[in-house]
Subunit: 256 residues, 2 copies
DNA sequence: CGACACGTTGAGATATATCAAACGTGGTGG
DNA sequence: CCACCACGTTTGATATATCTCAACGTGTCG
């Protein structure tokens, strides 16, 4: 699959025209270094943030300072629309790798909204998908055992990236260490390491410093009890994924 | 605190005038019996649903049919705005006790939106708070141990109900069994029972068939590592809660 | 009365956390 | 070039949390 820019690759949400409208109202880009904090919980937020490049993690800390990621944003995402609309954010945000943000001041977005209401509707859709992802994270952590949690999360990354044309179905790269994986899946880094070892030994997938290779996608999905209905992919994308999984599966079967 | 209708009791979101506008476009009420399914995952949704009376649980099932609640709606909530805007829902919904819903057909809500745009903004805010609650659920299940998870969730119920004038700070009633509590907190009913027993033995709170009495609110909040910033309460409400907790605390201290 | 939900309790199995040490690997300074 | 360190990962041993299964109680309702 050819690489596309994020704006082209999400046909069920923003058209290229709308994407241009959005980028026209954006202020100059802001750069962040890996691991730099972008936003602290409870701080005021005056701009909507478009993630032009890189990956951003949302998290809360418990009393002991231990971190739980509550969301992960990919290139092309609109960051934390909740924080923007509520004027303050309920969780902190860190850059995972190098990050480029393009902020849109509130007034400009409002102006664009009156001029182009369909666009605001699409922002609604985007934030509703974010909410659905949040709900799926609850399900993942609440009902799945460690091994399945890891597999399930990696499946989500795969599908979200694939839906934007940012990877193929055999793997992807994301600036996550094992400790991040642990803080995403609600477990200990040691346990995450062991679960990854199991998946590796079973020949299902490998994870080395954020580079994920998926050898057996079907088993991966099954191990993770994964479904992607909640991502609201375009029907074509969904069908395409199903067909490619079916093809992979039978090929593996044919090979023994 | 005197009982108020939900519409009066949420001053930071809908004014009584706006509430009347909303109820004017609603279709006749629909009644559901306890434990009746309101919506199945993946079904189409053509109306926004206002929860006029009762409690509704959102959930997903894993492959083995085990349920994980991913959200809980109180009287006065707008149900599953995500499902409405995305035209299909990503999770199922059950009535917990007896429930009264008032649906608003899509066209009527759209019409109201063009006529009264501030009202749509407030719906945005409501759904952004829902999303923040979802994120907090991830944090709760991901980072807290069983006992804290239970206490934390009960604190959330208390604060959400109190903010609407539906209870006082010493307890509340909600149509939840222990098994529901378990499916909310991502644990086994047996374990939920034991954690409740601990809280009871420590004199912190009791839970008997959905009737929650809180004897030591301060310890409850501490045990649950609870913070309620993510609920975006009105500043007055927030201050009032803090003052009443401080008062309770010192009274307990004075009594020994 | 019996059937049936729901809650409690106990015993044992399993999953996960904790602590500590060893291991690699890339950078840095001598 | 090597020695060294910082960092992330792996491994082992043990503790703790949580699950599972099974039994028992208790109330409700036909």
């Amino acid at each position: 699959m050819a690489a596309m820019t994020p704006d082209q690759a999400w046909p069920d949400v923003f058209t290229p025209f709308e994407a241009r409208l959005l980028s026209a109202v954006q202020a100059p880009a802001i750069e962040f270094r890996p691991r730099q904090q972008i936003l602290r919980r409870d701080t005021m937020q005056h701009s909507a943030l478009y993630l032009a490049r890189g990956y951003v993690g949302l998290y809360r800390l418990d009393r002991l300072g231990r971190r739980q990621f509550v969301g992960l944003h990919l290139p092309g995402d609109h960051l934390d629309l909740a924080g923007f609309f509520m004027a303050r954010s309920d969780c902190s945000m860190d850059a995972l790798g190098a990050v480029t943000l393009r902020p849109t001041p509130r007034e400009r977005l409002d102006a664009l909204g009156t001029q182009e209401p369909a666009l605001i509707d699409k922002l609604w859709r985007v934030s509703m998908i974010d909410a659905a992802i949040n709900r799926y994270w609850i399900f993942r952590i609440g009902r799945l055992v460690g091994r399945a949690r890891i597999a399930n999360f990696l499946c989500e990354m795969l599908m979200r990236l694939y839906a934007r044309g940012l990877c193929d179905l055999d793997g992807f790269d994301v600036p996550l260490a094992q400790i991040d994986l642990a803080e995403i899946c609600g477990m200990t880094p040691v346990h995450a390491s062991r679960m990854l070892a199991e998946l590796r030994e079973d020949g299902i997938c490998t994870f080395v410093q954020g580079s994920v290779r998926i050898m057996k996608l079907r088993e991966m999905i099954q191990t993770g009890h994964y479904r992607w209905d909640y991502l609201y992919l375009a029907p074509e994308t969904d069908r395409e994924i199903r067909e490619r999984i079916a093809a992979k599966g039978s090929r593996h079967f044919a090979l023994g």
